[in-house]
């Protein structure tokens, strides 16, 4: 079973995404703040993929991706941005920080699973 680390400051989004992903056959670790996710990664947790929100209080998604990519074991873990943003400037920033892909909320389950299969193949 593939492990996915979810990072989003919204508890309701985390709960719904966890349900959807677990029903899709994925194991999910959910963090309400990027700082908590970094603590988990620093502690040795190695997900097969990370899905992170972009706009969060404190550390934002771009800073989180940058910090995660500095951890040698996380250098090649796919990191998807799941966000309400769709502007090109933010996409370019995420790409430069090391993001693997960009999904605009709301994303339908079947489309989400298509992307996950594609990235995790």
């Amino acid at each position: 079973m593939k492990n996915i680390l979810l990072v989003d400051d919204s508890a309701t989004v985390l709960a719904s995404m966890r349900q959807v992903l677990e029903r899709g056959g994925y194991a999910v670790e959910a963090c309400t703040a990027p700082e908590l996710a970094l603590t988990r990664l620093n502690g040795g947790y190695r997900p097969d993929m990370v899905i992170t929100d972009l706009n969060m209080p404190g550390m934002d998604g771009i800073a989180f991706i940058t910090a995660a990519r500095r951890l040698p074991p996380c250098r090649f873990i796919p990191i998807l941005v799941l966000t309400t943003e769709s502007g090109q400037v933010q996409r370019d920033r995420a790409k430069a920080a090391g993001a693997t892909g960009w999904l605009v909320k709301p994303v339908a389950p079947e489309k989400l699973f298509d992307v996950l299969r594609q990235v995790l193949a």
Binding site: S10, T12, V13, A15, S16, M17, Q19, V20, R23, L54, N55, T83, T84, E85, S86, G87, Q88, R91, K95, A99, T100, G101, W102, L103, V104, K105, P106, V107, A108, P109, K111, L112, V115, Q118, V119
Partner: protein, 178 residues
């Protein structure tokens, strides 16, 4: 948030009678507080409804899983079993699809919080300062510009662009792998 009272050239007191200025401040303050309160109340209601709905949908999905498991242990009546299995499969997929709609609720919450911040800025408008010069009178525009600078989603920019008859800059694909 921009401090409107600190704008350039608005330090001098304008010729606004004190009672008028006070009445304006009182009314605009009430307006802002009501707007803020209403917005945040709706945001809270959205959150509560979504939490309850999410729990209900989750419980239903768990029940469907149990039903599916029970179905596997039943003997005979293959046609009925197949029909119930198809039903649980379709209903489970439907509920899962609806769960993702929570993302839209979260967008509503964030937009309402933005409206509340705009209400705060409007509530800080000071009539005496605003009438001090044409430049100062244009300062309320900063409220819109400041709020726009803090937008966290494409939907907000699209709504504003439409309202102000501007072109939207958010036309990227919904999914992109780099």
């Amino acid at each position: 948030m921009t401090q409107l009272r600190d704008g350039p050239g608005i330090g001098a007191k304008a010729a606004v009678p004190a009672p008028v200025s006070a009445a304006f401040a009182s009314a605009i303050g009430d307006y802002a507080r009501v707007l803020r309160g209403q917005s945040l109340s709706v945001a809270t209601l959205c959150d509560e409804v979504t939490t309850h709905w999410l729990q209900g949908a989750s419980d239903l999905l768990a029940d469907l899983d149990l039903l599916r498991a029970d179905l596997d242990g039943l003997q005979g009546e293959a046609a009925l079993r197949a029909r119930v299995a198809a039903f649980t499969e379709a209903t489970g997929a439907g509920l899962t699809g609806l769960m993702i709609e929570v993302q839209r609720q979260d967008m509503v919450r964030q937009m309402l919080e933005t409206i509340a911040r705009m209400a705060d800025a409007i509530g800080a408008l000071d009539l005496a300062s605003l009438v001090a010069s044409a430049e100062a009178a244009a300062l309320p525009r900063l409220i819109v510009e400041d709020i726009a600078a803090g937008y966290v989603m494409a939907a907000q920019r699209q709504v504003q662009a439409a309202a102000l008859h501007q072109a939207s800059q958010d036309d990227g694909p919904a999914m992109e792998l780099f």
